[in-house]
């Protein structure tokens, strides 16, 4: 098989982490270890965690770091094989039959209309047949119905797709696969068994500070420190929607643009709406942290 000649993408966890950092994604030890492992074991990574902790971003950054093409399948309810795997272009088939009615016998027509010419590639088939390096992202996999999940299994464990009229399409290369889930429902055991599991939680203080310092130009260390502590204490409250990393960054940017180098009470109060998106959360935060 070709993947043996192709070798591995990463030499070590550390190198995987370095690569990710070089494109601006600061990984924790867990993230880079699991990325390295996914490559070695040729298994997809199932990424779960609260919204806004960088699940999708991880796949995008990996693609960028490897110089690979990102193929994305955005899942939604009602997605089926014609949107995920492949579809026969039946309008074109109809036209073909009508145009060729006199010249060919039915057997020939049948062989013709189920040829590659009439096959529409959808993301999964695309990823499998790609000749250039690709990263496959199956986004929000928890949104598909449990019956549809089964469609993914063949692709994820054997890296092949069976098309009854054409036969089995085997992968040219084994792509790195990321599945993300917001945990709105329990995924099937069969799917979970085939994946490595990575839970992306809110980052710890040190890592979030690094992220702020690297992503927000002009932020001082002291400001970053108070920003991250403040957001951290917000996350401990019982909120409807806890502030995500991107909201921390938005807030940091806001404060820098306002020309501030310290977070005090009035500043926090006036800019809280950057971090919190529900009125009840804002009230709760003002009561919990800001009241003195």
């Amino acid at each position: 098989m070709s993947e043996q000649t192709q070798g591995f993408r990463f030499a070590s966890s550390f190198q995987a982490g370095e690569l990710l950092s070089s494109v601006g994604y600061l990984p924790s030890v867990e993230i880079s270890s699991i990325l390295f492992l996914a490559d070695r074991l040729k298994k997809p990574i199932l990424v779960e965690g609260p919204a806004g902790t960088g699940k999708t971003e991880l796949a995008k950054s990996t693609a960028k770091a490897l110089g690979a093409r990102l193929i994305r399948l955005q899942c939604h309810e009602g997605i089926d094989e014609s949107k995920a795997l492949y579809e026969w272009n039946y309008k074109k088939q109809l036209l073909h039959i009508q145009a060729d009615r006199r010249s060919e016998s039915w057997k020939e027509v049948e062989a013709n209309i189920f040829s590659e010419e009439f096959l529409l590639e959808r993301p999964l088939l695309q990823a499998i047949r790609a000749k250039d390096p690709v990263v496959l992202l199956i986004d929000e996999v928890d949104r598909v119905e449990i019956e549809t999940e089964a469609l993914l299994l063949e692709v994820l464990s054997d890296y092949q797709i069976s098309i009854p009229e054409l036969g089995t399409v085997v992968a040219n290369q084994i792509p790195l696969v990321f599945l993300t889930s917001n945990n709105t429902r329990e995924l099937s055991e069969a799917l979970k068994r085939r994946c490595l599991f990575l839970f992306l939680d809110y980052p710890d203080k040190e890592r979030e500070m690094e992220i702020v310092l690297s992503k927000v130009p002009g932020v001082s260390k002291m400001l970053a420190d108070s920003i991250v502590s403040f957001v951290g204490s917000l996350r401990e409250l019982d909120l409807k929607k806890r502030p995500s990393i991107s909201e921390t960054l938005d807030w940091a940017l806001t404060l820098v643009n306002l020309g501030l180098d310290e977070v005090d009470e009035s500043v926090a109060k006036n800019t809280l709406n950057v971090l919190l998106k529900y009125r009840s959360d804002i009230v709760k935060a003002s009561k919990g942290i800001l009241s003195s």
């Binding site: 070590s12 966890s13 030890v29 867990e30 270890s33 699991i34 390295f36 492992l37 070695r40 074991l41 298994k43 990574i45 199932l46 779960e48 965690g49 309810e77 039946y90 309008k91 109809l94 119905e145 945990n183 709105t184 429902r185 329990e186 055991e189 979970k192 068994r193 994946c195 490595l196 599991f197 990575l198 839970f199 203080k205 108070s226 502590s229 403040f230 951290g232 204490s233 401990e236 019982d238 310290e262 977070v263 005090d264 009470e265 926090a268 009840s280 709760k284 942290i289 800001l290 003195s292």
Partner: protein
């Protein structure tokens, strides 16, 4: 290393974490590529191959610390790679006085010297915990003793004073954040103490024995009636994601369950594009009926937390019902629907319920009979064929009359009548429990001792 993985997978299974054979094979394959000196990498590899649900992470962490605790871990690594472990720092600080030990600790925390802090903690454990080898006690007792002698409050004050001196202006938000930060640091110290004690117990009694004594229950399985404060917090944290999953499952079932009649117009219109061949069929959306829910909850001491979680779950699911009305009682009943409707925060509303509802008439002991009487008298004619009535309580009536015939009246008017009892079914009808007096009139009576049972009830309800 492979044996260790197999032992570890077994320990996980004993703690009710589902680990398939394939997954433990994957874990072994993963470790073959791991840098065995890097404990965090080993941990990441094992957790990503063995744990597929974040709910099990806590159990995993505890067991990992036992089976791959730094000491046993380094020991194994020594064997395999002949590398020297970190220089042994244990005992270096054992001769210093208590107060001085604390000062040194503060100092190492302020400098962020993790290695020194670790060895200081180790000395503190040696000095304070008084560990007796071979005694089959859990680490909690030793940790308690160590932390008390270490005087965590004094530690807090010293760190606070040192850090506040570094800050230039005294700003109230700054102080709050500082306190928050110190909480985090002290949490870290506690963790180090726990780790150190566990390390000693494990080397004394072996990993398997310690793992067996570990209580590893998922939040969904914690019994409401026996939950302590910490358990309750864990349950409430688990409630929100559970409800979300439940809602999406039910919503999905609703949409998929039965499809409506053929939408001929739309099907025909779309077929024109294919030369009149109806290649795709379209259906009308099915008509939905949503039940009206009436919850009547006993909120007396013994069953209060059960009522709390059930009410939160019902209200969190309120979109699935056309209307939710709630009543609470002890020996008097009061309607609290308004309190829930006025507040968009459940926790807040529950607090108000216990503060404002008039539920005590005489002595504040549950009196189901009196409550039935008053319920039927005041709200009886508002129960219609649309209402599903759910009673929550242990039916322990303190030897008052049951007046069960009134419940029969409720059943006649309502669409359905359910009863949830937080006691194990074996205890029903023992002592002052009169469950069977009422159960004859109910469509079903269910034991509801934990979130899992509660969830399956709500799912059946819809």
């Amino acid at each position: 290393m492979i044996e260790r993985v197999i032992e570890f997978s077994d320990a996980l299974r004993r703690a009710k974490v589902p680990v398939s054979l394939l997954e433990s094979i994957d874990a072994s394959r993963a470790l073959a590529t791991a840098d065995v000196l890097d404990r965090r990498e080993v941990k990441a590899f094992l957790s990503s191959t063995l744990i597929k649900d974040h709910g099990y992470q806590k159990v995993f962490d505890r067991l990992f610390d036992i089976y791959f605790s730094p000491s046993t871990y380094e020991h194994r690594v020594d064997e395999s790679s002949m590398l020297a472990a970190e220089p042994e720092l244990d005992g270096v600080f054992e001769d210093v006085a208590d107060a001085e030990l604390r000062d040194l600790m503060v100092d190492s925390i302020l400098r962020g010297d993790e290695a020194e802090l670790k060895s200081l903690v180790a000395s503190a454990v040696t000095k304070f915990a008084g560990i007796e080898p071979g005694r089959p006690v859990g680490g909690v007792y030793y940790a308690f003793k160590t932390l008390r002698r270490l005087d965590i409050d004094a530690l807090r004050n010293s760190i606070f004073d040192a850090r506040i001196a570094q800050m230039d202006g005294e700003d109230s938000l700054g102080v709050k954040l500082l306190n928050h930060d110190i909480d985090r640091i002290l949490e870290r110290v506690r963790k180090l103490v726990d780790d150190d004690i566990r390390r000693r117990i494990v080397s004394d009694r072996g990993a398997e024995a310690v793992a067996r004594s570990l209580r590893a229950t998922l939040p969904e399985d914690i019994d409401f009636m026996h939950a302590n404060e910490e358990d309750l917090q864990e349950i409430s944290r688990a409630l929100a994601p559970l409800v979300r999953k439940l809602a999406s499952r039910i919503g999905h079932r609703r949409r998929k369950g039965h499809r409506g009649s053929l939408d001929f117009r739309k099907t025909f219109r779309r077929s024109i594009a294919n030369g009149g061949i109806p290649a795709e069929l379209f259906f009308h959306k099915p008509f939905q009926t949503k039940p009206e829910i009436i919850v009547v909850a006993d909120i007396s001491g013994s069953v209060a937390s059960f009522a709390r979680f059930t009410l939160s779950m019902v209200y969190a699911m309120s979109e699935q019902f056309s209307k939710v009305r709630s009543f609470v009682f002890i020996d008097e009943i009061d309607e609290v629907t308004g309190i829930f409707e006025a507040s968009d925060d459940l926790a807040e509303a529950l607090k108000k319920v216990s503060a404002r509802a008039k539920v005590v008439w005489m002595d504040g002991h549950s009196d189901y009979g009196r409550v039935m009487e008053s319920f039927v008298e005041r709200w009886g004619d508002e129960i219609t064929h649309k209402s599903t009535v759910i009673f929550l309580g242990d039916a322990r009536n303190n030897y008052h009359p049951s007046k069960a015939h009134l419940l029969a009246l409720v059943r006649t008017n309502a669409r359905a009548l359910y009863w949830l009892n937080p006691e194990p079914s074996a205890y029903w009808d023992t002592g002052d429990s009169i469950m069977s007096h009422y159960s004859v009139y109910c469509d079903s009576v269910d034991e509801c001792r934990n979130l899992r049972q509660l969830q399956s009830f709500v799912e059946r309800l819809i």
